[in-house]
């Protein structure tokens, strides 16, 4: 089983076409300091009604992958060198710009971290919400306004009728993020990509917004890709997790298994390094060293200079995503030892 190709091995049990599938995606950026390899062979898939959490630190390539799916990657300096992005089995990277535009925005929507800078400050929120209906569905101003009020009600903005003419700065952080969610939902997409949607919010508001997002996802049976660095948020909402490090997926797993028995030393280190609310611990475990510079990613396993289990083979051979039981995979030569102790 160790000889099976990583992709066929991991993706074999899927019989129906997933809603979205990313296959062996490579993205690089040409910078003054050289070529930064941000994404180095990412594979993941999401089904309708499913939540995939993509977990990683800054520079792990989690946001670049999402931007590539959404088609908002800055090119240049960005460049897709390899890979496929399949939406309902069709490769979005090879289809015509016209076809692609029909999917992006309408079928796939995105929610960004910072709602204040994602909304236009000089237009009222009603105008910005209504624009979705006017541009994409050719509605009249009056119809669009009615739909916008309905949407603001759906995301539970109090007094939607009175507030539709307000500008983004007149709303609080949590309310602005609700408006972003409303915009993403406007055209009833099949897939939502949320890039750190609650990171800028306070905990009590974060809980409200996550709850709302999860509820709407269930209601519309949407796929959700949740990009985050917060292991707590993941545990609360995700069905499955993909952990990224230096542009690769190092571990994939259903949510329950990964917390109980991580199969990659990086995941294990992350889990041990966060203090817990419900326990007063001793000294925190700290992963030594720093995340790598993307222009000079270490050879072999990118994590080996920081890994407590690293051996000679880790510096030379890139570990493939070994299947670890059903629906799990770990890109570590020593996953058996990692999961065992």
């Amino acid at each position: 089983m160790t000889v099976t190709d990583e992709r066929t091995g991991a993706a074999a049990p899927v019989s129906t076409t997933p809603l979205l599938e990313v296959r062996d995606l490579h993205v690089e950026f040409h910078t003054r300091d050289g070529v930064a390899r941000a994404v180095n062979g990412v594979d993941y898939s999401v089904n309708a009604g499913e939540t995939l959490a993509v977990l990683g630190e800054s520079g792990s390539g989690k946001s670049v992958t999402a931007q590539t799916i959404m088609g908002i990657l800055d090119m240049p300096p960005g460049r897709i060198t390899q890979g496929e992005i399949l939406f309902h089995g069709q490769d979005m990277l090879t289809m015509s710009a016209e076809q692609r535009r029909k999917i992006r925005g309408r079928k796939i929507a995105m929610i960004f971290q910072d709602a204040l800078s994602s909304l236009n400050p000089v237009l009222s929120v009603g105008y910005q919400l209504g624009e979705m209906f006017r541009v994409h569905q050719g509605m009249s101003r009056k119809q669009a306004r009615a739909k916008s009020i309905e949407l603001m009600d759906r995301v539970r903005i109090p007094a939607a009728k009175e507030r539709i003419g307000d500008y983004p700065h007149q709303f609080s952080g949590g309310m602005r993020q609700r408006i972003m969610i409303a915009m993403a939902l406007a055209l009833e997409p099949e897939l939502i990509i949320a890039d750190e949607p609650t990171t800028a919010l306070d905990v009590t508001v974060q809980a409200q917004v996550m709850d709302l997002l999860a509820e709407l996802q269930r209601e519309y049976n949407m796929g959700l890709i949740l990009i985050t660095h917060d292991l707590g948020v993941v545990a609360d909402v995700a069905d499955k997790i993909a952990v990224m490090y230096a542009g690769r997926i190092v571990e994939t797993s259903p949510v329950h298994d990964i917390y109980a028995r991580p199969a990659h030393p990086y995941t294990k280190g992350l889990l041990r390094s966060i203090p817990r609310l419900d326990q007063k611990g001793q000294e925190l475990y700290a992963i030594k060293g720093l995340p790598p510079n993307l222009t000079r990613i270490p050879g072999g396993c990118a994590f080996h200079p920081r890994c407590p289990m690293a051996q000679d083979v880790c510096a030379t051979d890139v570990p493939l995503l070994h299947p670890v039981g059903a629906e799990r995979g770990s890109a570590c030569h020593f996953w058996k030892e990692t999961i065992g102790d």
């Binding site: 905990v203 009590t204 809980a207 545990a235 609360d236 917390y259 390094s273 609310l277 000294e283 992963i287």
Partner: protein, 357 residues
């Protein structure tokens, strides 16, 4: 259930006493003739003690006034009223030489290591700058050696003394900020969100460093953060702030396992716990609405507009920060200061079941 041992502070002598501290920022209208039309009540009557060698965590959401408290303790902002006693001396009334002498003993570490270090100064100059202001600490010829020593203490290579901040990662920059804070051998370090800008795997390194330095130099920390898990990890006592007031204060066990103020309970229950099994076990309190504006806070209890226990009395009477009468005289961990008329214990983080497992 076994109580986790809290680290006993070195002595029970308060090193810093804060009494009824108030900071109002005036709101004005007009350009030539400024007329005061109100005030943002950022801090509105806060009292607490900091003991030698302990860490006091202050948590709260954005806009609750926790960073203003930090600035007031450093005397970077002039308090509207109230006192901050450092070893019995009220520092809000000091100026000139006396203030300078006190400031040597109270230093600060800032949140954002990207903007709190001057990009045009070398690391050596940044860490050595405090010596220009307080030359009595290190004589001129001795300074470079002292800076190298400090770099070593915070776990950076002393050879980096001539590098610039942009050559360092976020975690390393925060170490530089900490080294600068340590330069004058202070007794108190005020940390305003020292790890929130850092990556998860680097946060633990910096938190461990801060704990090590505390043991080594007998420092007292005021640790201000919005991340409740990190605050619990590092703090001996924790104060919870809401809209310019202290809602509840006590030891970490009292606050996290026996909270009696509804706001603390809601705050704790909202924190995502990295354990999917906890999803089913935990009861979450989802608050409605947003924090009201500090320019126009509600009457009586500040939290009443979002509180599920609020009654008529909460709008009339401001609850005082004191041990609630229901727990008075009892030695249960619920008997700690809580500013609520209807204080009642509630375990929201499910720690009891975790301890047993």
């Amino acid at each position: 259930m076994t109580e986790p041992l809290t680290r006993e502070p070195a002595s029970r002598k308060p090193i810093l006493q804060v009494r009824n501290l108030v900071k109002h920022f005036p709101l004005t209208r007009g350009i030539l003739f400024k007329k005061e039309i109100g005030a943002v009540k950022a801090v509105d009557g806060i009292s607490f003690d900091l003991y030698a060698g302990e860490t006091l965590g202050i948590v709260g959401e954005s806009g609750c006034g926790k960073s203003t408290v930090a600035k007031l303790l450093m005397n970077l902002e002039q308090a509207t009223s109230g006192e901050v006693f450092y070893k019995g001396e009220d520092i809000t009334r000091l100026s000139g030489r006396a203030l300078k002498a006190v400031r040597r003993n109270i230093q600060m570490v800032f949140q954002d290591p990207y903007t709190s270090l001057n990009p045009r100064m070398t690391v050596g100059d940044i860490i050595g700058e405090p010596f220009d202001i307080h030359p009595e600490v290190a004589p001129k010829g001795d300074r470079r050696a002292r800076v190298r020593e400090l770099l070593d203490v915070v776990g950076l290579n002393p050879e980096y003394i001539n590098r610039y901040p942009h050559q360092f990662s976020g975690g390393q920059r925060q170490r530089i900020g900490i080294a600068r804070g340590l330069a004058l051998n202070p007794e108190i370090i005020i940390c305003d969100e020292p790890v929130s800008a850092l990556d998860v795997s680097v946060q633990a390194q910096v938190v461990n460093l801060m704990e090590k330095l505390q043991d080594e130099f007998g420092l007292s920390y005021v640790f201000i953060a919005h991340d409740l898990s990190i605050v619990r990890h590092i703090s001996d006592r924790v104060g919870v702030m809401y809209l310019g007031r202290m809602a509840e204060i006590g030891t970490d066990t009292e606050i996290y396992e026996h909270p009696t103020h509804p706001y603390t309970q809601a705050l704790l229950s909202a924190v995502p716990v990295p354990d999917p099994q906890a999803r089913e076990r935990r009861e979450r309190i989802i608050l409605t609405g947003d924090v009201p504006s500090p320019a126009n806070p509600p009457s009586g209890c500040r939290f009443r507009t979002r509180c599920w226990k609020a009654e008529e009395r909460c709008a009339q009477e401001t609850p005082l920060l004191a041990v609630p009468s229901v727990f008075a005289g009892s030695d249960s961990p619920a008997a700690h200061e809580s500013a609520c008329h209807f204080a009642a214990e509630k375990d929201v983080v499910g720690s009891a079941s975790v301890d047993a497992a």
